[in-house]
């Protein structure tokens, strides 16, 4: 399946990258964009001086995209995710999630959030951690069990239902947290450097899993990272950000095929996209 991407890829225009919807989801083209930010700014009031965490962000994310936010520390990528998730309020500009406000989207439980740390509840076993959102949503026990079984199957942890978080490795814990975010089957998955604390081998493995998952479903993924290879390997579109103030430098469309394996990282096409990301990062990152 080839994706035709046509973003204009500049900071100012920031791209209504319309693309053909995957087969069987042709209706989705008519629905509002998953994320639609216009002139979004956020200023934190700190003790000494106000900090401009986000500056005039324009970004449209369509259904079924895998969008990575990449940039050095302090460029506002996590803040942007938190604004999408209604965990922070913007000071200027507008943002719509599925056509409604972030708060309405949060109340409608329309996204799953995966944090930098697994944030599992240590007193709950794996199964009950995965069922936590389902309990909050008031699902029946049968429904909860069915859904947590399915989610754990997806991340390959079916045999670990009764284990407690401390009995699992860091990579397994993060997989549990992904299963937890997917257990209520949101259309949008927000992932904030989910694999940042893991070793490279585990990370590669989870990247393959995640990509496979995205290929099989109609998920929209917004993924924060500061690894160029990770961003290029996973994404259909890469948003390059720069710090002080946090803004979008460039939006890079990847023309790599949707079905990828780790070997693609040695191909010229992959290296070409990675090179473009690196150039954009260098452009946006001045040390003066």
């Amino acid at each position: 399946m080839t994706m035709i991407a046509a973003g204009d890829g500049t900071a100012a225009g920031a791209a209504a990258a319309r693309r053909e919807a995957p087969e069987g989801h042709s209706r989705s083209a008519a629905r509002p964009a998953v994320v639609e930010a216009k002139g979004l700014s956020l200023v934190f009031q700190t003790a000494d001086a106000p900090v401009r965490a986000l500056d005039n962000i324009d970004l449209i994310i369509e259904r079924g995209e895998f969008v990575s936010l990449i940039g050095p520390s302090g460029c506002g990528k996590t803040t942007l995710m938190r604004v999408i998730a209604d965990l922070e309020q913007p000071t200027e500009g507008s943002i719509r999630i599925n056509g409604s406000t972030p708060e309405q989207a949060r109340l409608a439980r329309s996204y799953g959030y995966v944090f930098q740390a697994p944030a599992l509840y240590p007193w709950r076993n794996v199964e009950r951690n995965v069922q936590l959102p389902l309990e909050v949503m008031g699902m029946s026990k049968e429904e909860r069990t069915a859904r947590s079984d399915r989610a754990l199957e997806t991340v390959g942890l079916s045999g670990f239902k009764k284990k407690f978080p401390w009995q699992l490795s860091g990579g397994m814990q993060q997989r549990v947290s992904i299963a937890r975010a997917m257990s209520f089957e949101p259309d949008l998955l927000l992932m904030d450097e989910p694999f940042g604390a893991l070793d490279e081998i585990t990370r590669d493995n989870l990247n393959v899993h995640l990509l496979d998952l995205w290929n099989r479903t109609n998920l929209t993924v917004v993924f924060v990272t500061h690894s160029i290879p990770e961003a290029v390997f996973l994404s259909s579109r890469i948003v390059v950000m720069s710090p002080r103030p946090g803004r979008i430098v460039e939006v890079i469309d990847s023309d790599l095929p949707r079905g990828r394996d780790l070997d693609i990282r040695e191909t010229p096409a992959f290296l070409e996209v990675a090179h473009r990301v690196r150039v954009a990062l260098r452009e946006g990152h001045s040390y003066d």
Binding site: L87, Y113, A119, Y121, W123, R124, L132, V136
Partner: protein, 313 residues
């Protein structure tokens, strides 16, 4: 302290070394026994030193001049009304007043202990409920945090000996007598560690764990029942151990100003009236044993809860 550290190390090491003498050395028993032995030796020496002058007086009245050190010690360690009774005398008195006396008798220490324990447990229950309720209020309502917390702390700066008689008198006037005034004093002491521990415990979830609940748009009640409360249990049990020991102290203190007829406090009071050191020491030792039993009971519940929640045991 050393004993505890020793015991901890002993449990973590395993296998070949843990046999025979090695096993005894690495177990819990030996360090405790060594300390106990040292205390016994010092105690008997102190009893000899404190009781000897009166024993010598006694010998002089009887015109006995040719006594040996051994005879002096034997006499000093078996005085009818010693300044400091020996552990042996105390043990014998405890045996006499527990095993050899009917429980219904006023002389039975078991009877007195049960009177004190019942108000301890009622007061501990009241104090725990009150302490948790105050902590929940403080954590959820910012106004309460600012207005109540200083009073909670101030309440513990007032000497309990000063406030105990007032509580007894006021409650007596309102028609409450018997167990309740003592339980109120127990509760007054035991709610404090519970409040402090639970405020810390209910605030212990980290920002990510709280954000997670927010992404599920969980209600305050759900955040409490699924996150704050379970996260606080690790803080609750240490507080409960302090709380139950304080509840026991409160119950005993509560028995003093009332001229209570029954209870460990009453035994201490009558002992001091009549200069009977042996029953006083017996009451003291029994109250110490009661405190240990209470704390072991709380620890047992704590372990059971930890195991049920997948603790490392």
């Amino acid at each position: 302290m050393t004993a505890v550290a020793e015991a901890g190390r002993g449990r973590s090491s395993s296998g070949a070394a843990a046999r025979g003498w090695g096993r005894l050395r690495q177990g819990r028993a030996l360090p405790v026994l060594v300390v106990l032995g040292a205390i016994m030796v010092l105690w008997y020496l102190a009893a000899l030193w404190l009781n000897a002058p009166r024993t010598i007086e006694q010998f002089q009245r009887e015109d006995r001049a040719d006594y040996s050190i051994g005879e002096l010690a034997a006499a000093a360690w078996s005085m009818e009304r010693p300044v400091l009774p020996t552990p042996g005398q105390i043990a014998a008195d405890i045996w006499k007043t527990t095993v050899d006396t009917r429980i219904t008798s006023k002389r039975s220490l078991v009877y007195h202990a049960s009177v004190t324990m019942s108000s301890t447990l009622v007061g501990f229950a009241l104090g725990t409920v009150l302490g948790i309720a105050i902590a929940i209020g403080i954590v959820h309502v910012p106004t309460l945090d600012r207005s109540i917390m200083p009073w909670v702390i101030a309440s513990q700066t007032i000497p309990i000996l000063a406030i105990a008689p007032m509580i007894v008198v006021v409650l007596g006037n309102l028609g409450f007598t018997g167990i309740l005034p003592k339980a109120v004093i127990s509760a007054y002491l035991s709610f404090f560690p519970v409040t402090i521990g639970m405020v810390k415990g209910l605030r212990s979830p980290d920002p990510l764990q709280l954000d997670l609940m927010r992404t599920y748009s969980a209600s305050r009640t759900q955040i409490f029942s699924k996150l704050r409360w379970p996260a606080s249990l690790g803080f609750l049990f240490p507080s409960l151990k302090i709380g139950i020991a304080l509840a026991l102290v409160g119950a005993i203190v509560g028995e003093l100003p009332t001229g209570a007829q029954a209870g460990i406090g009453a035994r201490l009071l009558t002992g001091s009236y009549y200069g009977q050191m042996v029953p006083m020491w017996s009451a003291l030792v029994v109250s110490g044993l009661l405190a240990m039993i209470c704390i072991f009971a709380v620890s047992a519940v704590e372990r059971a809860v930890a195991l049920a929640r997948g603790g490392r045991a």
